[in-house]
Symmetry: C2
Subunit: 400 residues, 2 copies
Amino acid sequence: MENFSFQIIKKDRKSSARLGEINTPHGRIHTPAFVSVGTQATVKSLSPDELKDLGAEIILANTYHLLLRPGDKIIKYLGGLHKFMNWNGPIMTDSGGFQVFSLGLALIHGVGKIANIFPEEANFKPPTKNKDKFTKIDNDGVTFKSHLDGRTHRLTPEKSIEIQENLGADIIFAFDECTSPLSSKNYTGLAMKRTHNWATRCLKAKKRKDQALFGIVQGGEYGDLREESAKFINSLPFFGFGIGGSLGKSKKDMHQILEWTVPLLDEKKPRHLLGIGEPEDLFNGIERGIDLFDCVIPTRIARNRTVFTKKGRFSLVKSEFIKDKNPIEKGCQCYACRNFSRAYLNHLFKAEEILAHRLATIHNLYFIMNLMKQIRESIRGNRFLKFKNEFLRRYKKSGI
Amino acid sequence: MENFSFQIIKKDRKSSARLGEINTPHGRIHTPAFVSVGTQATVKSLSPDELKDLGAEIILANTYHLLLRPGDKIIKYLGGLHKFMNWNGPIMTDSGGFQVFSLGLALIHGVGKIANIFPEEANFKPPTKNKDKFTKIDNDGVTFKSHLDGRTHRLTPEKSIEIQENLGADIIFAFDECTSPLSSKNYTGLAMKRTHNWATRCLKAKKRKDQALFGIVQGGEYGDLREESAKFINSLPFFGFGIGGSLGKSKKDMHQILEWTVPLLDEKKPRHLLGIGEPEDLFNGIERGIDLFDCVIPTRIARNRTVFTKKGRFSLVKSEFIKDKNPIEKGCQCYACRNFSRAYLNHLFKAEEILAHRLATIHNLYFIMNLMKQIRESIRGNRFLKFKNEFLRRYKKSGI
């Protein structure tokens, strides 16, 4: 592949954390890295310039959404995703497999990637009455109806790669079947086999030399399946790995799944924990050898009025902020904190002004980017676990 | 008054157009100028930096809205509007009189400032069933119910000035009663007398020395009333003038009203045509001696997917733009046109992404700011009417 490499610069002595660099045709990603989610070819509310300014090095766009609108062929005609959205840095696209899940099993089971965090924070709509009409999975691929206009679409491994080649991201993913934390072991095993078969078909289908393909490890919350999947996917010539699918019923389960999976993956290749990324998850993932994360939470909770601080999250619409002259977080160097008070943000949210979404999004992404930077520095300085403990001692999920 | 002045730099030979400068404690405004509307202490979707970048020199915030939320006393406590919204340039606030109108007569009559442009472009919601419950006007002031929580508020000339002093804008307006294009001559005359009485009360009530007060000429579409009002308001020691209220039943009526009014106003003081500002209106107002305009149209139509170009307006969601690689307007130097295609904007609007609102707003305000700059240059170069004719020959309101 042209212009792609992954180098490990430093390994932590006391954990599996590692400092690295992924080089792509559109630039370098310092790992561990958080990938900002730009589902519809825009990180919601932000301009590409703002993203660069807050330290983002890579973004993720969703194949499923872009297939439906405006269409991958149109984006190809317009010069590809980078040109379309005017983001000149690295981009990754997912395979569409996760959205098949979110329109299928996730709706039937009413769950997300981790059972007990749905529906508050997961990436799904609540179960609908015609939930079983959306998606049909067979060994060759998936047939589903567009959530936009009800038209029927078909995704196969070959089709997913074709679409992702049309979109033109730097890093693309193999088409996989996600299972839910409530899927039986039997079904999870069947879906895993299908994912393995599709993984080989994706590698075969891939034509472009300027994209790196990641394979996805499935197997749900079952140790033997996860190990089987990690070994199989590791045996194929992928550039890197995604760890996908159900991550169990609790964050503890998720940690266990990483401990089963990551040690079986070639340490010379980057590892992406798909769809995860609260501050505590970043630490716990990195400790277990994860290099890449993507998650909608920082941007989604921002639009829902909630911001991250070192002490935890809080809602900006609390009445105590009406007259608060302080920034969201003292000392924070983001554009929102350098220029505006909590009182102003409180007002903007109550008045339903767009600028509220922008400023909270900038703050939250800056917070995460800055946290990742500090984590990288802590690995470089042989003090990752120390920094983790210090940070998490102060950080309360329930807020300040 | 401290640090306030208005200088006329050049007068057009063939029309009443003039080039000038208003100096305020927060900086200079080059006139003729378009004042961007930031109703709730934010120009919808934009950051203050973006506003500066696109050439805005002054913004207008609405007293009525800020009184109701977050409250003028809170804004005062937080250091005033400039600090609250982090806009360090000049600000003006209206008096609240116009909103009294828009919640009262405008709803009853179902009209705007010019009868035939409602409801498409005017600043009002459609008539409601309990329309007559909102507002009660008497000679001392106005009692109305908040559109937010139904609580009763009272505005008088003294109260309007107090609120505007708390908000702390550079330019403030006298409290007036707006009539509708459908008001009788008798009622319009009564409202005008009230406005005159309130004008003197506002002058008396004003305490702060670092704000300039504009008086408002009323009189609806009636020549004798407009003349009476212009003479009376001109006789008082205001820093400048607003031309407010009903501007008739057509744009022709509006021009007639300006021709009655403007010649009676001291030419050494600035004149603001309130709530008006489509491209053709700017030319026609400036030709008749107007120095300042404010209008929500550029920002509102932007959020409604419509953009200005030299050839006219058009909607970005037309299907012909799905694959259009061109910017909104070739040669335009705004951030949107320098970086994004019509196809991308078409996608963002269809996908209901916030960035669509931002980019279209930036383009439209830049378009208007740039037009005003060109108009100023044309006055300086003794070719204002020539430029007006050239521009309007190409510009079709119906779009390209």
